[in-house]
């Protein structure tokens, strides 16, 4: 501390290190300030419509109108209690999940027999493989506490669920809908959460 330079060096590096600690303290405040939001989603109906323009898959050809699946649902999402100083925004999404089975490829059958358990508990045996599909039907980014409450019925899906090769989602499946959210903090780690699953059977009406 004998010269201006030495003091400047030590004191400013100390300020920077303590500043980093301050950021950590802000990030940790999310632990005790976080509250569960109220979430509920319910399926209403589904329709297959033809859309000429809009989000089409590139590969499926651009000249022809696409058949798209539009899902309507009710959504209640209340984040007003979950909002605190360290929340920058919240990403809310409505996710549809269902399973399909595929025949396992030849090589797989020769492996030692094992059952694969997928993350929602469905098992597959050697000859068939269960493929899980999760698709975001609708999403929104909530940027302030004023708009933190979504209470709508008859919300329509923004993104039409389809497989990558352009084929439609199988139309007679049991599916589940649930609400997922991700809290994006000002500083710190992301937190996720989801609501209970709402099971339904997709019986899409052709339009």
């Amino acid at each position: 501390m004998h010269s201006v330079m030495a003091r400047m060096n030590q004191m400013s590096s100390s300020v920077l290190v303590m500043g980093a600690l301050l950021l950590v303290a802000v990030a940790m405040s999310s632990q005790w300030l976080a509250r569960e939001p109220q979430l509920r989603v319910a399926f209403r109906r589904a329709q297959v419509v033809e859309r000429g323009a809009g989000m089409r898959h590139r590969r499926a050809g651009s000249a022809q109108p696409q058949k798209q699946l539009v899902v309507e649902f009710d959504l209640e999402a209340d984040f007003t209690q979950a909002w605190h100083w360290n929340v920058k925004n919240v990403y809310v999404s409505v996710v549809a999940s269902y399973n399909t089975t595929q025949l396992a490829p030849e090589g797989a059958q020769r492996r030692a027999s094992s059952t694969v358990v997928t993350s929602n508990g469905a098992t597959s045996d050697d000859s068939h493989v269960v493929v899980e599909h999760h698709m975001v039907l609708w999403d929104r980014v909530i940027s302030s506490q004023d708009e933190a409450r979504i209470f709508s019925s008859d919300l329509r899906s923004k993104y039409s669920p389809r497989h990558s090769d352009g084929s439609m989602v199988p139309l007679d499946r049991p599916m589940t809908l649930h609400v997922e959210y991700m809290i994006f903090p000002v500083v710190g780690a992301f937190t996720f959460g989801s609501s209970a699953l709402h099971a339904f059977v997709l019986n899409a009406e052709e339009s």
Partner: protein, 76 residues
């Protein structure tokens, strides 16, 4: 800066730092604004650096008393 001044400057800084942390955190927490935390911390730190780093006259009140040099011929 003399020795007493250095000691004083270091003490002032050592007290100002945790105070800056606590005050800025509480100010932001109560106002529910994370940016206030950083702005307040930057402001308080800037002030404390301004007070402690340069050699102000208050740090030079007890200069070292050197023994007067005996008159002798130059060696170089």
């Amino acid at each position: 800066m003399d020795l007493r001044g250095q000691y004083l400057a270091e003490r002032v800084f050592m007290i100002a730092q945790p105070l800056a942390l606590v005050l800025s955190y509480m100010a932001g927490y109560l106002a529910s604004d994370t940016r206030l935390v950083l702005i307040a911390y930057a402001a308080i730190s800037a002030i404390s650096l301004l007070v402690c780093v340069p050699s102000w006259p208050m740090y030079r009140r007890h200069p070292l008393q050197f023994v007067p040099q005996p008159p002798s011929s130059e060696h170089e």
